[in-house]
């Protein structure tokens, strides 16, 4: 490159090497935008901590490793203890408020069907006995990943009456589109 390049501002292109000094001054508009953008980034960051203080909807973080068979055995025990009926071969379980609630995901169903009371907080203990699944509670719109070998504790407070669907939203095999479940909320 000869010095013509440095003296001539016009033929600069993003495809050519820049002139020697490419760190020019920043214009007033760009400088202002930069500060505004940085402040917005800080707000986005603190937003998550602020919501932890003011919001009722938090990302569950309590989790444990658990052996798949242990989980299945505990879940069966839970279902036997509080079963109140059966629908399409799936137990319907009405645990007392305050009790730990097991929810088992496996190819291709969620067990059991739960009957919860409105306004009470339940500890849902969720895991999978085979592959990964997605726990999607609809139309409430709450979604969680379910991994085999890990127990995910989700504290949930149903605040509406009615029947709510569970659908699996992580691909889990050719029956992924038949994997459903149900939570009924009663008074």
């Amino acid at each position: 490159m000869t010095d013509t390049q440095e003296h001539d501002p016009a033929p600069r292109s993003t495809l050519l090497p820049p002139p020697k000094r490419w760190w020019g001054g920043i214009g007033p508009d760009e400088r202002r935008w930069l500060s505004i953008a940085f402040v917005w980034c800080l707000i986005l960051f603190s937003g998550m901590y602020i919501w932890m203080g003011i919001g009722d909807q938090q990302t569950p973080i309590e989790s444990y490793r658990i052996d798949r068979d242990t989980f299945q055995a505990e879940a069966e025990e839970f279902m036997a203890a509080y079963a109140v009926g059966e629908e399409d071969g799936i137990p319907v379980v009405a645990p007392p408020p305050g009790e730990d609630v097991y929810l088992q995901a496996s190819q291709f169903q969620f067990r059991p069907i739960l009957e919860l009371q409105r306004g009470h907080t339940y500890r849902l203990l969720v895991s999978s006995t085979d592959v990964q699944h997605g726990l999607s509670l609809q139309p409430v719109n709450l979604n969680f990943q379910v991994l085999p070998g890990y127990l995910y504790v989700i504290r949930l407070t149903p605040d509406e009456l009615g029947e709510f669907s569970l659908v699996c939203n992580e691909y889990c095999g050719l029956g992924h589109h038949v994997m459903t479940g149900k939570i009924a909320v009663v008074d």
Partner: protein, 588 residues
């Protein structure tokens, strides 16, 4: 003054001068770039064909569930891995040889890499389409696929890694030969950022798929699903950041191609690329926000890219790209008032329209939804719903793919030495494609808000033990019709693109000057024009540019107002999302 691009002949054996651009071209680099780009476009066409089928199945196109999943798996891998990475390898070869006036290093190895990548594609496609690898590109264990599927993807990724190595060899060689002086051109610098991010993405990806491969051939008993997810998203997310950096570099190239513009402050743009390299990989954790096993601070620090510094980088580009357009227009006196430069922009130029459409949709839709989804608590609302699919079609389709299509209208004629065929088709193509993808993505985002899960073959849940009829009634079916209509338009736009490419490649008139009158890009025009009225350094001030004194001292007043509108939209969406969050059940 062709001084910038004429190294001494002794330093450039085997290079010939491109008549259109004045750059020195290495025949082997040219062929390699062309081969990789063409292979990429062929796979784009294949992935597009699959997209029609998976989208129209919802409107009754008879496809078995089994085949729907196979095609979905293949569509994802074909598009996200094969099309994008092959095109990026082409871009890396182009940028590191032609733009630097240097020769292609180790061309034989590069051909070997190309062969290995194609073999990898063939193995993976065979496994996916014969139903031996219906695990989706995420391949989460304990789902299992045929070992040749993992091997195919590993070959492909390994090939891409070596290609990146060759790119760096070219850079180092060019520097040593002195074929360019000073800093790298901005576009090549952007490609370099993409390449650096590519290295750590591909390495973590190789670990993830390597574990699965080892398991599939019996070397490992099992792979821990949480560990796998951590490694997998190193590439699953990292590769998207390669796409992002490459796309931004291509945007800068398109500005040069269509307007001869450059950033007002090039240093800032380069700094933004550095921020990408330093912080963007942290964001991988946003895929694990509702997974068991991670603590709160870990989630927040990582999902926020440490104080959103990578988002800051994107916000810098969000200013500097439109500002480059605005300043280029003002310098050429093609502007009056605040937004006259937009009115008088070359909207009929496919490179320009794809640049703007890609930029707008990427910013307003893809970027904003991405930040929202990556906000720890908000993630619960949309994880694994069609919202996610809407978001990433806005990033990789209306963003990256559209930008790559835009630059192909200039690169292919240059690389193939042929005149572009179908200029009218090319003129309309970005609008049809962007329009289709806009509808597709908006409809997917809406469907996700209605709770529609992703990767589900049958939304009626007819055969489910516990009936779910919420997606067969209400608004969902209408929204899914919009998804399909958007898909149709997008695919028509895709066909138009492929048609122009194929016609140019096969039928285009051979020429060493495929000059489409847009070669501001290389400084060629300006160099020839010299001190003509337009090419001169006419600055913002001193013209009657119709600006009031209030705006006069700004570099790019129109852009400044546009980014403020963008920010207002961002803030509004952020508040709306939290309003939605507050409506759902208390959870924690």
């Amino acid at each position: 003054m062709a001084t910038t691009v004429d190294p001494k002949p002794s330093e450039a054996p085997g290079l010939r001068k491109c008549a259109a651009t004045g750059f020195l071209v290495d025949e082997r680099g040219r062929q390699l770039a062309l081969a990789n780009a063409v292979a990429g476009v062929v796979l784009l066409a294949l992935g597009g064909a699959m997209a029609v089928v998976i989208a129209l199945q919802r409107q009754g196109l008879p496809v078995s569930d089994d085949w729907w999943y196979r095609l979905l798996a293949s569509h994802g891998a074909t598009m996200l891995l094969f099309w994008l990475l092959l095109f990026e390898v082409a871009a890396l070869y182009w940028g590191s040889t032609m733009l630097l006036n240097t020769r292609m290093r180790v061309p034989r190895l590069a051909w070997g890499v190309f062969g290995a990548m194609l073999l990898g594609v063939a193995l993976a496609q065979w496994a996916m389409l014969t139903g031996r690898a219906t695990v989706m590109f995420t391949a989460y264990p304990p789902l299992e696929a045929h070992s040749l599927y993992y091997l195919g993807v590993l070959l492909f990724a390994g090939g891409a890694l070596v290609a990146i190595g060759i790119f760096f060899a070219n850079l180092v060689g060019a520097k040593r030969d002195g074929s360019y002086v000073g800093s790298l051109p901005l576009v090549v610098y952007g490609f370099m950022a993409a390449a650096v991010i590519g290295v750590y993405s591909l390495v973590t990806g190789a670990v993830a798929y390597g574990l699965l491969f080892a398991q599939s051939v019996g070397l490992l008993d099992s792979v821990d699903p949480a560990t796998y997810r951590l490694f997998f998203w190193g590439i699953g997310h990292g590769a998207q950041q390669v796409n992002l950096a490459a796309m931004v570099a291509v945007w800068y190239a398109l500005i040069a191609f269509t307007l001869g513009g450059r950033p007002v402050n090039e240093g800032l743009s380069r700094f933004a690329f550095l921020l990408y390299i330093a912080f963007i990989h942290l964001g991988a954790v946003h895929h694990l926000l509702v997974d068991p096993g991670l603590g709160t601070s870990h989630r927040i620090m990582n999902t926020s890219y440490l104080l959103y510094l990578a988002v800051l980088a994107s916000l810098i580009h969000a200013f500097s790209i439109p500002a480059a357009i605005e300043v280029a227009q003002r310098e050429r006196n093609r502007s009056r008032g605040l937004f006259g430069w937009l009115l008088r922009a070359p909207w009929r130029e496919p490179g320009f329209s794809s640049l703007v459409l890609s930029l707008v949709w990427f910013g307003f839709i893809a970027g904003v939804t991405g930040v929202l989804m990556g906000t720890m608590q908000l993630n619960m609302l949309i994880h694994n719903t069609l919202f996610v699919v809407g978001h990433f079609h806005a990033t990789v389709v209306s963003g990256t793919t559209l930008a790559f299509m835009g630059i192909s209208y200039y690169l292919l004629p240059l690389l193939a030495g042929r005149r572009l065929v179908g200029a009218t088709m090319a003129r309309w193509q970005p609008y049809v494609f962007a329009g289709g993808v806009a509808l597709l993505t908006l409809a997917m985002l809406l469907a996700g808000r209605l709770g529609v899960p992703r990767r589900v073959a049958d939304l009626s849940y007819e055969n489910a033990p516990v009936a779910v009829d919420m997606f067969a009634t209400g608004q969902t079916p209408t929204v899914m019709v919009l998804v399909s209509v958007g898909a149709l338009f997008a695919v028509i736009g895709g066909i138009m693109f492929v048609w122009v490419m194929v016609a140019t490649l096969l039928k285009g008139e051979r020429t060493d000057r495929p000059d489409t009158a847009l070669l501001h890009a290389f400084g060629a025009q300006e160099r020839e024009r010299g001190a003509s009225e337009e090419g001169g350094a006419a600055m913002l001030t001193g013209h009657d540019n119709g600006l009031s004194a209030r705006w006069e001292r700004f570099e790019a007043p129109g852009t400044y107002l546009i980014v403020l509108v963008f920010l207002a939209w961002f803030v509004a969406m952020y508040l709306l999302a939290h309003f939605n969050l507050a409506q759902t059940w208390p959870v924690g």
